[in-house]
Amino acid sequence: MKKTLALLALLAAQAAFAQESKIALKDGPGRDKAMQCVACHSLDYIPMNSRFLDKAGWTASVNKMINVFGAQIAKEDVEPIANYLAQNYGKPPAK
């Protein structure tokens, strides 16, 4: 956890523009795990892709980041991150 925080601090410093740091993900369980995404890209990628992906869609996105782009996200974090994204940025349930 300490390591993660140190990593996040380092990465926050990489934000290319001050405005990037104003992007806030919605509160909810799993948010801090989802914040790991900031290692490689600004967090606006997440709301930009909402709300049309279901949990399978978000899981596929997270796995692509790990398997293709080399994101340093622990395997056990995939499920909570996908849950968080599906809950907060996922396809709304059919009415």
Binding site: E20, M48, N49, S50, V68, A71, Y89
Partner: protein
């Protein structure tokens, strides 16, 4: 609602707007809310989250552009800049895949040319590149493969572009062919592999490397450009030199070009083998023959398209004056043959007047005055056809990565 629309068209219109329940005394207000409601920044068809997240932001050296993402930077050109057939450098869209983008100084820059199918290796600094080869120039559209991805229905993941992930510029540099021939092209050459100075934030992130077929690399129009509209390339558009592949989608126009390799085998990194691919045979664009080793195929040239720049959905125009329908059209390099305009939801089409011909790779302006003698709703459409006979589609050709959106625009206006 309006006497000028046929019933079938009207039903489609209502369904398309998704505003049936809202329809009552003021149809255009309903449309205004449903389509083009975020008129300052984009089209309401793009995902809600993308609309809410985007804002106007000026990168250093740029005018305010529509921010899609900050890092890597992806910024779209607002529609009003396309009223000029040449896109100003300061307004030209910005698209990067990977976040580590160095500021390259001209004095430190060099281009390496080599590869297994090259006779020898060259290393050229900017001055050598500019002085050892004949200058060449082309006016050409650079369009992101995923331009208009945000308009896909159903939506697909990616950068949710509106209509402005494109631009048209006068590119000046040298022919890639001349540079390759100086290195010597062996008979077994199959592809030319291009790498820029940008890279991923992690060592494991696949570097953005692209390849083009050798015959495209040897085409007279394929350039290594160091000037754009008479000025050095902006940093955000690939300073000090980038590849120009007229007709082909922007993914091949490698920025901050550092390395060119002539190779006898297909390049199979992620950006060639997995990204920028289309279901095979779904589009009539040319085939990248050496890259057909999987069920899909790489995107190649742009599909024919147009953009109306003088009108927005929800706009009210005065009765009694012709409605000025103006815009730009382009295709994958055959050149624009015609643009037709409809003011009755596609029931009838009238050829628009084409503007100056700046070459077959350029935007071509079009204009038509449509009579507006009666009040009421109108649906304005423009449809471009290329010299190949290819024309814009009525229905989206859906594909998983969201490329080649060239559906005929429908612009809902009201004559008052």
């Amino acid at each position: 609602m309006t006497r000028s629309l046929k019933n079938t068209a009207r039903r489609r219109l209502l369904a398309g707007a998704g505003a049936l329940a809202l329809f009552g005394s003021s149809p255009l207000r309903a449309f205004g809310a449903e389509i083009g409601s975020s008129a300052a920044l984009g089209l309401a068809e793009i995902p809600d989250g993308a609309l809410a997240e985007q804002l106007l932001y000026a990168l250093p050296g740029k005018v305010p552009l529509i921010k899609k993402t900050f890092r890597p930077p992806n910024f779209e050109t607002p529609v009003e800049y396309f009223r000029n057939p040449i896109t100003p450098n300061k307004a030209f869209f910005v698209r990067w895949h990977l976040a580590a983008i160095p500021q390259v100084a001209a004095k430190d820059w060099a281009l390496t040319v080599g590869g297994e199918s090259a006779e020898r290796e060259l290393k050229l600094d900017l001055q050598e590149l500019k002085t050892q080869f004949r200058p060449a120039q082309v006016t050409a559209v650079c369009q992101c493969s995923g331009n208009r991805r945000g308009l896909f229905e159903p939506h697909v993941a990616g950068v949710e572009w509106g209509v402005g992930a494109m631009g048209n510029a006068v590119w000046r540099g040298v022919r890639l062919k001349d540079v390759l021939q100086k290195a010597g092209v062996r008979g077994n050459a199959l592809e030319v592999v291009l790498d820029g100075a940008d890279r991923g934030p992690l060592d494991k992130t696949p570097d953005f490397v692209k390849s083009i077929p050798i015959e495209v690399a040897l085409d007279d129009n394929t350039l290594i450009a160091f000037e754009m509209n008479g000025a050095p390339l902006p940093h955000w558009n690939g300073y000090p030199a980038r590849l120009i592949v007229p007709g082909w989608t922007g993914t091949y126009w490698v920025k901050q070009l550092m390395s060119v390799k002539i190779v006898p085998t297909p390049e199979k990194n992620f950006w060639m083998s997995a990204a920028y691919r289309l279901p095979r045979g779904r589009f009539r664009t040319p085939t990248f023959k050496s890259q057909l080793y999987s069920p899909n195929e790489p995107i190649t040239t742009m599909v024919v398209n147009s953009l109306v720049t003088s009108l927005r959905s929800g706009q009210r125009v005065p009765r009694g004056k012709p409605i000025e329908v103006r815009g730009i059209a382009w295709d994958g390099g055959s050149g624009v043959a015609k643009v037709e305009v409809s003011a009755d939801y596609g029931a009838s089409w009238t050829p628009a007047k084409l503007g100056k011909d700046r070459g077959r790779f350029s935007f071509r302006e079009f204009a038509l005055g449509v009579p507006a003698s009666e009040s009421g709703a109108r649906v304005i459409m423009a449809r471009a056809t290329g010299n190949t006979g290819e024309t814009q589609v009525e229905q989206l050709i859906h594909n998983p990565a969201g490329y080649h959106h060239n559906v005929i625009q429908r612009i809902y206006i009201e004559v008052v």
